[in-house]
């Protein structure tokens, strides 16, 4: 299964590159919501990267981390978007 392992790792690498590209949007903004969307995408990519590594290295225990990361990603998005509305800033 080395071909599949390589393919999984290459895909994970591609996602890393994409996340780095998306950093442009995080830095540029221009609004806070743009940044949150971009960070959310990077978070989703991170979840995928972790899952791909878990599959490539055959270490299923890592999947728990991916689940927790997905959870925190969701919490981050709704928390920031709501606190911007309710408190006029983050917290």
């Amino acid at each position: 299964m080395t071909l599949v392992t390589d393919a999984l790792l290459v895909a994970a690498g591609a996602y890393v590159v994409l996340s780095v590209v998306i950093l442009y949007r995080i830095v540029r903004g221009p609004t806070m919501q743009d940044r949150v969307i971009a960070v959310n995408v990077v978070g989703t990519n991170t979840v995928v990267i972790i899952a791909l590594f878990a599959a490539a290295l055959d270490s299923p225990g890592v999947l728990d981390i991916a689940l927790v990361y997905a959870l925190l990603n969701f919490l981050m998005s709704i928390a920031i978007s709501k606190f911007t509305v309710e408190r006029g800033g983050v917290m």
């Binding site: 998306i22 919501q33 949150v36 490539a56 978007s81």
Partner: protein
């Protein structure tokens, strides 16, 4: 020799990375927050879905696969909600959607 199974996994991965690229390009190219949220909330979700499906297939059957499927379900539940929360906050702050009439102003 590439077996059918391996080929399927690689096809899923290619699809996943393709939609990941579409999401990134959309995020960089599209003119405003709302249109960017389109790219982020779905092309990325589908890309993640395909990649996770590949991971699940590579892990074979068993407990890890169940976890990957749960991860997928969780992403499909929460990603649209997150995109909705963000755009709703933006709309509430009075950020106007870009329309094709603004095209002349440049991106």
């Amino acid at each position: 020799m590439v077996t059918l199974y391996e080929g399927a996994i690689i096809a899923l991965l290619v699809g996943g990375v393709f939609f990941g690229i579409v999401a990134a390009v959309g995020l960089l190219r599209l003119p405003d927050l709302y249109t960017r949220a389109h790219g982020a909330s779905k092309t990325d979700t589908l890309g993640a879905g395909l990649s996770l499906a590949a991971a699940a297939a590579a892990l074979g059957s068993g407990l890890p696969t169940v976890k990957v499927v749960l991860l997928l379900v969780f992403l499909f539940l929460t990603n649209p909600t997150a995109a909705h929360a963000i755009t709703r906050a933006a709309a509430d702050q009075g950020i106007e959607p870009w329309t094709s009439e603004d095209r002349g102003d440049g991106e």
